[in-house]
Amino acid sequence: MADIVLDKVSKRFPDGTTAVQDVDLEIADGEFVILVGPSGCGKSTTLNMIAGLEDISSGELRIGGERVNDKAPRDRDIAMVFQSYALYPNMSVRENMAFPLRLAKLDKETINQKVDEAAKVLELTALLDRKPANLSGGQRQRVAMGRAIVRQPKAFLMDEPLSNLDAKLRVQMRTVVSRLQKQLGTTTVYVTHDQTEAMTLGDRVVIMRGGAVQQVGPPQELYDHPRNLFVAGFIGSPSMNFVHAVVEDGRLRTALGDVPVGDRIRRELEAGDAPKELILGIRPEHFEDAALVDDETRRRGMEFEAPVDIVESMGSDKYVYFTVEGERASAAELEELAADTGAADFAGGGSNLVTRLSAESSAREGETRRAWFNLEKIHLFDPGSGRNLTLQEGRSAGALAD
């Protein structure tokens, strides 16, 4: 067991592209850290550099306080679980799990004992004599994990280990991974492109984009206090709504009406180089059916009227999609996010607002409905830099903060 420190680690490929740029990251002993981001953001390259499968172009990587830049993977004492599982097809499950121990030249008795132990933890005992070809996807995944835990390495690296499983099994295995990590207390770095996995599994989440770290923090902090537009749009499902806003006379003109701003934001907007257009970010759960809001709550937000496009009843609450007129919010980050989810292909004209209302709401498709949203929870982003203007010392205070 050991801590892992990345000190300005970069990866440049011979053709000149930079896959990872100056990543600083300190992973404490026993911590479960998730690297998350859209495809091509450098998360897998970062993991491969920690593993030793890719050379580090510049910067320093320390495992357990020791510089390991030039060490071969086998001298780093870390185990890796691959997205493809990478089981050795010519070996049985037992031989697969024993392989790292045999290479470490342990005696037969110890090997058997360790394999049996690991198999018991992962409920693989009955499958030990089978070949990987005769296992289901979930079983193969467990064998891959077994092969990693069997030699008690300093750290686990997991490269999208659940992405080849079907949705139901993935949720199940998520809890298995989580429990296993807590039980063993081994430092773990986990790569995924699925923000739900990132939110549910990690002690801390590292969001990457274009080879650079965007924000590092516990899942809830990233959700509540996103540092920029990219983080805000990436974390959360359904994702945050983004509305185009124009700064005019100390107010924000938007398709949802004029949004008042507090003193602090106003001061910032009055500065010479302040952006004249902003992007307003509102999470779906910060909307409510105006008819269901009590007066005290009503004062903290504002209301607007819009036609209801679609109503999805989830039982516990309702997802109501409003159609709003006006210019679509646009920024490089948003386009990148849309491209990653494939949403760019079918976004029609106008923009859709996703809201999560109480189940009691009587909103019906086709009607025009009055809705309320919480001004204390909204975020304001600079479309140019993507920076969250509402963030003060790392905390988001909403638009009204003084």
């Binding site: 086998r74 870390i78 691959f82 997205q83 599982y85 990478a86 050795y88 097809p89 392989f99 080849n164």
Partner: protein, 278 residues
Amino acid sequence: MAVETTTRAKVRWGLLDVVVVVFALVPVLWIASLSFKTPATLTDGKFWPREWTLDNYRTIFDTDQFVRALVNSIGIALIATTIAVVLGAMAAYAISRLDFPGKKLLVGVSLLIAMFPQVSLVSPLFEIERQLGLFDTWPGLILPYITFALPLAIYTLSAFFKQIPWDLEKAAKMDGATQAQAFRRVIAPLAAPGVFTTAILVFIFCWNDFLFAITLTSTERSRTVPVALQFFTGESQFEDPTGAICAAAVVITVPIILFVLFFQRRIVSGLTSGAVKG
């Protein structure tokens, strides 16, 4: 309806297969039949010998010439195959796994060699080997065989190596294996079917070669069987050695058949299934 169509399709394909097999096998069977006939009945035009005899086989094994050629053939083909497969495996592994400068050139050149008309190289090779003292020796045949078998070996083997998921090698390295251990314990066992397939192809190429064998040899010191057959004569100048030649032809197909049968069992398709994904 669907069932009827499939049955009809099966019958059609079956008939087609039978035609192909008969077309390919009749000459072979004819040779075998001739080899069992006595000189008197040799030209009777009957497919089935009226009088069976093993005299032809006795004749060829009595002559030193044939046995010596058989030894030459087996030795030369086996050595050339071994070297070509080992070199080919290393080259193919590098081609499929590494990005090195000149990779395209290497692949291109090996393809060029494979396409080169061999008959045009015969005279220069003859001159070169005479100068170097390689003429009429085992290495004199083994070297050109390796040269012309290598492109074949590289192409077949790199196709097999490309099928092996690279993740397996990475996994082995993470599990604590050196590069050599990863190759020997993980990659090589999975590439075995490819290696055996290649070995069979190369062996057949060396075994069957007539062109190089007839130009680069002059005595039975290194003459191989296909050439030895050509020089076959009867006990006297006027005797017709057809029966003996047929017997020899049957004998030299036997090692090929044995070789294929022996390695065929190892060519199990789908050996890599279960390595990755589901």
